[in-house]
């Protein structure tokens, strides 16, 4: 039985309070893309430790004695999986499905999901964060670069969504 979504303002308040708790208790905000980067670094370190050591960016995360996974964000990420799952479970929204627009096929959606994921992740590295890290956390702490990134992201997304509207409507 699928329950309706929570009122967006309430959901937003819930997220906002989580973010505030993160700031007040642990002195840092939320983030998601960082964990993906750290996961990749961890695997790379396992297979090609010398390569990680020699790459300035990867070495920051996993060089020397550093364990890329021993980080606040990684544990946060695991929590997000659990929280998302629990919410889906109690709301009857655990469903193996592919969400796509009416004018494309599920397979096409899969392909675009991958491409979009690739582009977004690449962008998140340049911007030093994704929407959780930059827009939410950087936004709440009034970080200059974060606000610039967030506003440009939204504007570009609207333009890009118009170009790619066949994917969704």
């Amino acid at each position: 039985m699928k329950k309706p979504y929570l009122n967006p303002y309430l959901a937003g308040a819930g997220i906002g309070l989580s973010l505030l708790a993160s700031i007040f208790f642990f002195g840092q905000g939320l983030g998601a893309s960082g964990t993906l980067m750290r996961g990749v670094t961890w695997v790379a370190k396992l297979l090609f430790p010398g390569h990680v050591e020699g790459n300035a960016y990867l070495a920051q995360l996993g060089g020397g004695g550093r364990d890329p996974l021993l980080n606040y964000l990684v544990f946060l990420f695991v929590g997000v999986v659990v929280g998302g799952f629990v919410s889906g479970l109690v709301s009857g929204r655990l469903k193996r499905e592919i969400n796509h627009g009416p004018r494309i096929t599920p397979s096409q959606r899969i392909a675009f999901a991958m491409i979009g994921g690739f582009l977004f992740a690449l962008g998140s590295r340049f911007a030093r964060g994704c929407t959780s890290g930059v827009a939410l956390s950087g936004g709440a702490t009034l970080a200059l670069g974060s606000w610039i990134t967030m506003l440009v992201l939204f504007i570009v997304a609207y333009v890009a969504a118009f170009i790619f509207r066949k994917l969704w409507i």
Partner: protein
């Protein structure tokens, strides 16, 4: 998803109230510059080390570059910004206590501020590393704090507690970082 108008308008009104409150705040009561350098003294440091709650590193601000191999501490120039070198040295482990030997707190304060912001505990010890060693190892007229520190450090190793506390730097100067858990340097996305 339709939010009932009453709820929506109450929410908006609440936001307006907060906006007014924030706009009227003015400047914060405590300027950042007034905040203490770091909430730590020698005895607190000793206590924390005894309790195993802190790792610490010693950084020598005096002496010549050649000497630092013997001392096993990082040679840092007081005239330059300490922070990048210190962070490299301590591996970005938040919460570490850093003992800066060879400067007074007044001298160290402006340089240590970025470290404090990254949540390191900074203890400034005037005098040279030799003095500090002798003070710590043989505190004839040492303060109770230093004696406590000395007792703790002496318990650390047979060859001399101060040496044991220093990170060993092999010839060539490449800093060896002991592997230890890090919360990633304090933040990031």
């Amino acid at each position: 998803m339709k939010t009932p108008a009453v709820i929506r308008n109450s929410y908006y009104a609440l936001l307006v109230l907060f906006a007014v409150w924030l706009a009227l705040l003015g400047q914060p009561s405590r300027a950042p510059a007034d905040r203490p350098l770091a909430p730590i003294g020698a005895i607190d440091l000793a206590r924390m080390m005894v309790e195993g709650r802190r790792n610490f590193s010693v950084i020598d601000l005096t002496g010549s570059p050649e000497e630092f191999h013997l001392k096993g501490a990082l040679k840092a120039d007081l005239a330059r910004d300490l922070t990048p070198q210190v962070l490299e040295f301590v591996g970005g482990n938040r919460g570490q206590a850093i003992i800066l030997v060879g400067a007074s707190e007044a001298q160290v304060r402006p340089l240590a501020a970025p470290l404090v912001k990254k949540r390191f505990r900074v203890l400034a010890v005037p005098g040279g590393i030799g003095e500090w060693k002798s003070q710590v190892l043989e505190p004839a007229n040492g303060s109770p704090e230093l004696m406590a520190l000395s007792r703790y450090l002496q318990g650390k190793s047979a060859e001399g507690a101060a040496a044991a506390t220093l990170q060993q730097v092999p010839p060539g100067g490449k800093v060896q970082r002991r592997a230890r858990p890090s919360t990633g340097g304090g933040g990031g996305c």
